[in-house]
């Protein structure tokens, strides 16, 4: 049936002039609407039902309806839409090329070609290599950086300054401590020297009591001293003001005594005598160290000081003070022989002395009160970490400080004659 009709139309189309058919279509149908309308009109003109067309072309009726209504998006795709249109047009005896051309013009801008998207296999869940590696790298760098920084910070100080426990330090101080005790308090000396030799712990109890008694009387008259006691506590062994420190120092003092059994006589004097020519100094302006030095002497000289006023007492203590300062601390460097420059620490300061050949002669942290005597040679240079913490004396005369507190000075030439010029 349909086939016959189709044949007929085909033949009629092929026999009739193409030029006649096509322009008619175009002129006649374009203004009215889309391709769908044209097709419907032609179908209705031929008296065909949609069902018949659908059966002949095997195209679903819904699709044909969509085509006629111009709902091309309802078709399965552009490629199929064109195919259906071509079949439909051919079936109705229209020129498929014209219909398809018009369809393309109508949907121009619409999706002409399908977008391709191929699903990609989901990558197996592995450890994200790149990210992890990066993280590890950053972490490693951070750790190394932190370690390097910390270890470097440690090295700079610790390498040079071995920590000295207070107990050990006190032992070392002990060597210089006795002199103040022995020298001024001559009457006590034999007693101390004797008792430690026999029994160490016992003398402490026996020796101690007297000074407290002496000191107890002392503080009220010696008013400038209180500051001295504060600093004196830093050297408990030597400068124990028993009144303040009380029984804590009980075991320290005897040790001092015990240790000093021998050095007291031999080393003690040598260490004390050379320091510097005794220069009478007013106790007020004198640095803390000397004031501290005064403290221990105070008990030693109760008979004199307690009797006199603070001012009157100064001259003798000053002399004793110098001796005491060395007693409190160690004295480094060559022992007085050919030394013109002397550093005395008023605060902890690192000192390094190099000679002309850049060889380190001395390098350590001077604690407050400690003294270093510079050998009298040419080309000696100083490096220090705390220039303000060093009190410089040239030939016993105090000269201007090398720098400010906390200032780091490097390669400071130590020339006694030049430095003497800066004396104040």
């Amino acid at each position: 049936m349909g086939e016959k009709q189709r044949r007929f139309f085909e033949q009629s189309r092929s026999t009739t002039d193409h030029g006649q058919v096509e322009p008619q279509l175009d002129r006649h149908d374009l203004p009215k609407g889309g391709v769908g309308a044209t097709l419907r009109e032609n179908r209705e003109g031929r008296g065909l039902q949609l069902v018949q067309v659908a059966r002949a072309l095997r195209i679903r009726q819904t699709y044909l309806e969509a085509i006629e209504a111009g709902r091309f998006t309802d078709l399965p795709g552009t490629a199929y839409a064109i195919g259906f249109l071509r079949s439909y047009a051919e079936h109705l005896g229209l020129d498929p090329a014209v219909i398809v051309q018009r369809f393309k013009e109508e949907v121009s801008g619409g999706a002409t070609k399908p977008e391709f998207y191929l699903p990609k296999p989901i990558p197996e869940s592995r450890v994200p290599g790149g990210a992890l590696l990066m993280l590890a790298l950053v972490l490693g760098v951070c750790t190394y950086g932190a370690w390097y920084f910390m270890s470097r910070a440690d090295r700079s100080l610790v390498a040079y300054v071995p920590a000295l426990p207070d107990r050990l330090a006190s032992l070392i101080h002990g060597t210089t401590v006795p002199p103040p005790v022995t020298v001024p308090v001559v009457p006590l000396a034999p007693e101390m020297a004797d008792k430690p030799a026999t029994a160490v712990p016992l003398p402490s109890t026996t020796v101690e009591p007297p000074p407290p008694a002496a000191l107890a009387a002392l503080p009220p008259p010696a008013t400038p001293a209180p500051a001295a006691t504060a600093s004196a506590t830093r050297h408990p062994a030597a400068a124990t003001p028993p009144g303040s420190a009380g029984g804590d120092d009980e075991d320290e003092v005897p040790q001092v005594g015990g240790m000093n059994g021998e050095p007291m006589t031999g080393e003690g004097p040598t260490a004390i005598v050379p320091p510097q020519p005794p220069s009478p100094r007013p106790p007020g302006p004198s640095p803390i160290a000397t004031a501290a030095a005064q403290a221990p002497t105070a008990p030693a000289t109760p008979p004199t000081t307690s009797a006199t006023s603070a001012e009157a007492a100064t001259p003798p203590p000053a002399a004793a003070g110098d001796a005491g300062s060395t007693a409190n601390s160690r004295v480094y460097g060559n022992n007085g022989r050919d030394s013109r420059i002397q550093f005395k620490a008023t605060a902890e300061s690192w000192v390094e002395i190099r000679d002309g050949n850049n060889e380190i002669l001395f390098s350590r942290v001077l604690r407050p009160g400690e003294v270093y005597r510079v050998p009298d040679r040419s080309g000696i240079r100083l490096n220090t970490g705390n220039a303000g913490g060093l009190e410089v004396t040239v030939d016993g005369n105090k000269v201007a400080a090398i720098g400010n507190r906390g200032q780091v000075m490097r390669n400071v030439p130590l020339d006694a004659s030049k430095m003497a010029g800066t004396a104040n």
Binding site: R60, G77, I82, R86, P119
Partner: protein
């Protein structure tokens, strides 16, 4: 390294190396060449030289003197003559690049889905020795479906029938892959042969391949007309009885009769493919139908015959002759997206 450098200088190409025609698509330029796959080779002092390729060579087909051979290097969709095919590809690459040398493009060549590994290797090596830097292969039905604009990457079944010169490819595609494909070595050539055989048997007239092709294009039909003889055509050839050239008139009905065998082979292939289609895909195909591509789909009434045989809507693709080339070209343009529809032998 060096080849990569040359790659910058050369435009990537997609080649539809068909039995009848070779189409070349150049990236960014579209189809730039469409010529018959024919090479004319002249023997000059015992040395073979390419005389002509393409249209020019096709004119010589069947009209050559002794020292010239007009060869179709492809038979049944695959290379039958390596050297000649290589020469032909080389010629096309050069023609596209407008220069003699320094062309080393990336090339996608399509191969029949039913081709063997040996045949694929042959095509790849020919393209490589013709100067291609890298050769990818794409299966013809996939290229045809992409070229026809079917939504091949969607999870919906599409059936495509590509009737080429040498082979007919029937394939069901979904999700960017071929679900089922069937390749029969029936195509335009077989139709021509059928026409030649029919005329020789029934009219004792020998016609050439070219004439047979012309007859097919003019009055060829997949089914005989309802009534009468249909369109008529004068054909010329050599009379087998008395050996003189002769001219006679042949009708559409007669040609339809002669084409019955290859057409039924195609129908059979489609039917078998449908039989092997999974039910879900079959359901999709019932709705949308089958799309015909390739030169063979231009045979009049083929859609009609297939519609009757399968009961499915049959659509002929827009521009069926260049579908495969367009699809291969699209694969070249969207190489990243369509990477896994390509076959790489590296």
């Amino acid at each position: 390294m060096f080849s990569k450098l040359l790659g910058v200088l050369s435009a990537d190409m997609a080649i539809d190396l068909g039995t009848a025609n070779t189409l070349v698509y150049v990236k960014g330029r579209g189809i730039v060449l469409n010529e018959p796959s024919v090479v004319a080779i002249a023997t000059v002092r015992g040395k073979k030289q390419v005389l002509a390729v393409g249209d020019e060579a096709k004119m010589m087909l069947g009209r050559t003197p002794g020292n010239i051979q007009a060869i179709r290097p492809l038979r049944d969709g695959v290379i039958a003559d390596f050297e000649v095919a290589e020469e032909m590809i080389k010629h096309f690459i050069r023609k596209v690049h407008n220069r003699r040398s320094f062309a080393s493009p990336q090339v996608i060549v399509c191969v029949p889905s039913g081709s063997t590994a040996v045949e694929r290797r042959a095509i790849q090596e020919s393209a490589e020795s013709a100067g291609a830097r890298r050769v990818f292969l794409i299966e013809e039905p996939m290229a045809a479906a992409i070229g026809a604009g079917l939504p091949v990457t969607e999870p919906t079944g599409s059936m495509v029938v590509d009737i080429g010169g040498g082979t007919t490819e029937v394939a069901v595609l979904s999700l960017g892959g071929i679900v089922y494909s069937r390749s029969v070595r029936v195509g335009g050539d077989k139709m021509d042969e059928a026409i030649i055989g029919y005329i020789r048997r029934n009219h004792n007239l020998l016609v050439g391949e070219g004439s047979a092709e012309r007859i097919k294009k003019e009055i060829g039909s997949a089914c005989p007309p309802e009534d009468g003889e249909g369109r008529l055509m004068e054909i010329k050839g050599r009379d087998l009885m008395n050996g003189v050239p002769k001219e006679l008139v042949i009708s559409e009905r007669q040609i339809a009769e002669s084409l019955a065998e290859p057409v039924s082979a195609i129908i059979e292939a489609v039917k078998v493919a449908l039989e092997h289609t999974a039910p879900e895909l079959a359901a999709d195909i019932v709705d949308k139908g089958i799309v015909l591509t390739g030169g063979g789909s231009l045979l009049s009434n083929l859609d009609f015959v297939l519609r009757h045989a399968t009961g499915l809507p049959i659509s002929i693709a827009d521009d069926p002759l260049s579908c495969v080339a367009l699809g291969t070209g699209r694969a070249l343009e969207e190489m990243k997206t369509l990477k896994n529809v390509l076959i790489s032998m590296y």
